[in-house]
């Protein structure tokens, strides 16, 4: 009898508390992550923008991305001196449940930004010092190919179908197109002065490139690997860097560092249709899975702006670490 009652109690406890445990687990997993290059840490936030915790890192973090399952974060680490190879140069893999770095992935010298192919097998990074892009096999953690791209490479993006990787180069004003399978540069396109960020639209038809000195957003036709248009932002005053695209591929949101604003670009009409004032020197930008919220990392005001896309207004501002640089939002349910 006692045994039966004990068993019933155990089952009841499991039924009653399991959802609670699961819910607690879900709540504690971060939804957004910010790299703070000034304070050498990352800030982890909930979907509503609450700061969950801060994780100290051994060196300067910049490029940042979630794993597909949202349980790990990859972050590019380098020292404060550009162009000098250091032992701190790596892509760190952070386990969000363990809240610690579980692996350091070799990614060439001075990695600044990177992209992970959709199958999560290969990580492509830009090596500013060497003028190369590195392809790293994520299973072995070793560099499998080094590709010559333009001088001072920066932005890296992988196409949604995993076929292409695009890399910008700030001094050469170029975008190099890499076949992700053969790991060869198949084309180079000249864009406006000082290209920084690059993203693919979710439908994979376009790639967008921000030109910091040119003050434009270049639109590249992915099928032909050719420049199809360039949209001038804020009369060229904005110094655009980070780019995010709505899930329906109709709108681009560009962080304009110099004018403390985000440009909204209609990708069908190919023109800037609005600007949204945000914190100081927005650089990194990300959009929520449902496309309703935008997040900007504001390097000049040590905070992030959370923007309501429908009203194009800042909904809240959250303090993070010093000089926030990059921001990423979890792609899948975590």
């Amino acid at each position: 009898m006692t045994t039966r009652l004990g068993a019933i109690a155990l089952v009841a406890r499991a039924v009653l508390f399991q959802p609670v445990f699961a819910q607690l687990g879900s709540v504690s997993m971060p939804y957004a992550v910010v790299s703070n290059e000034g304070s050498h840490d990352i800030s982890l936030l909930s979907e509503s923008g609450d700061l969950l915790y801060t994780l100290r890192l051994p060196s300067r973090p910049r490029g940042i991305a979630f794993s597909k399952d949202g349980r790990r974060v990859f972050v590019a680490l380098s020292d404060d001196r550009p162009n000098t190879e250091a032992t701190g140069d790596a892509i760190a893999e952070v386990d969000l449940q363990a809240r610690r770095i579980v692996r350091r992935i070799s990614a060439g010298t001075d990695p600044e930004t990177f992209a992970i192919t959709p199958d999560e097998r290969t990580l492509f990074s830009s090596n500013e010092d060497a003028g190369t892009a590195s392809a790293t096999d994520l299973r072995t953690g070793k560099v499998s190919a080094t590709l010559v791209v333009g001088i001072e490479p920066e932005g890296v993006a992988a196409s949604p179908d995993g076929r292409w990787v695009y890399v910008t180069a700030e001094t050469s004003n170029s975008v190099s197109m890499i076949d992700a399978k053969t790991k060869r540069v198949v084309a180079n396109v000249l864009v406006d002065a000082r290209p920084r960020g690059v993203v693919f639209t979710p439908n994979g038809r376009m790639a967008l490139v921000s030109a910091e000195i040119g003050g434009t957003l270049s639109i590249i036709d992915v099928r032909s690997h050719s420049l199809s248009d360039a949209v001038t932002l804020q009369q060229g005053r904005g110094k655009p860097v980070g780019i995010a695209v709505s899930p329906d591929s109709k709108f681009a949101f560009v962080a304009n560092g110099a004018t403390h604003s985000v440009s909204v670009v209609d990708l069908i009409a190919r023109k800037e249709i609005a600007t949204i004032p945000v914190g100081k020197r927005p650089w990194g930008i990300a959009i929520s899975r449902d496309g309703r919220s935008l997040y900007t990392a504001n390097g000049g005001s040590d905070d992030i702006s959370i923007i309501d896309v429908a009203t194009r207004r800042v909904r809240s501002t959250v303090k993070v670490g010093a000089k926030p640089w990059g921001i990423a939002v979890a792609r899948g349910k975590n």
């Binding site: 050469s172 180079n188 002065a193």
Partner: protein
Amino acid sequence: MTGNFRSVQLSFALTCLVALPVPLAAAGQTVEVRSPPHRLVIGMLALRSSPDDSSGESSSNGLTLGIEEAQRTGRLFGWEIVVVLPPDSLPTIEAQRYLIASTPTAIVGDLTRSALPDLRRTIAPLYLDLGSAPRRPHGECGDRAFRLLPSNRSAQPSTKADTEITTDRLSVVAWHPALERFGAAQLNERYRKRFGTNMDERAWAGWLSIKVLLDAALRTGTSDHCTLERFFLSATGRFDGHKGVPLFFDPQTRELVQPLYAPRRSGELEMVSVPPSNDATSRVPGMGGTRCAPTCG
């Protein structure tokens, strides 16, 4: 002069043999442009300096870095950069005339005043002037030179407040090794790594002279000097010199409009001149229509 001229040659010969295969026409060899527009031929002039002045070496180092980087960027787009040097044996004025006559696209360096009349001929290459000692007032269009370093007029304080703090300034320069933003730190570091010294304004001007030539060639799709000259004078002729704003040549004076900096005794680096980010209203699209109208018409 001759010694320094040789150092420029040596620098490029070393580049050719060791570091990077920069195509180099043999000194005195006639350059045949085989497949335009994918070849950019640049004549290098001697850079004048006195034995106790390292500015000539800075310029040649800057040119070397500029050529190496242009070669890399050019390769992405199927362009070849060819450097022409005059024969060793020629005296200064003859060497300059040789380059003017044999270089189809552009000459960079420091022409002596006696060579300038040769540039006034109808068919002559573009000339990017790296000389700045003494910084003569610009605006004399006769020599058709595009100048990358500021004239004394540009470097002078423009307001009373500027004048008051001038005493604290050590100088006004177009570049400084302490610059960091907009890729300046990266450029300074690339130069330091390559030559073991800091990049000064002479070196920066040398580097930029090659960069603007290649940028213009890539954007216009040709190495034709008339087209490049029009591009330099047009509203779209804007360049990134790692200073955070687009740089352009003033069509009135052909002087590069750019931020200038004043290192101060306190150690700070002050920006003393900020060009307008959008100068379209003061420029005549396409041709300029100014005292320095394109030579090619």
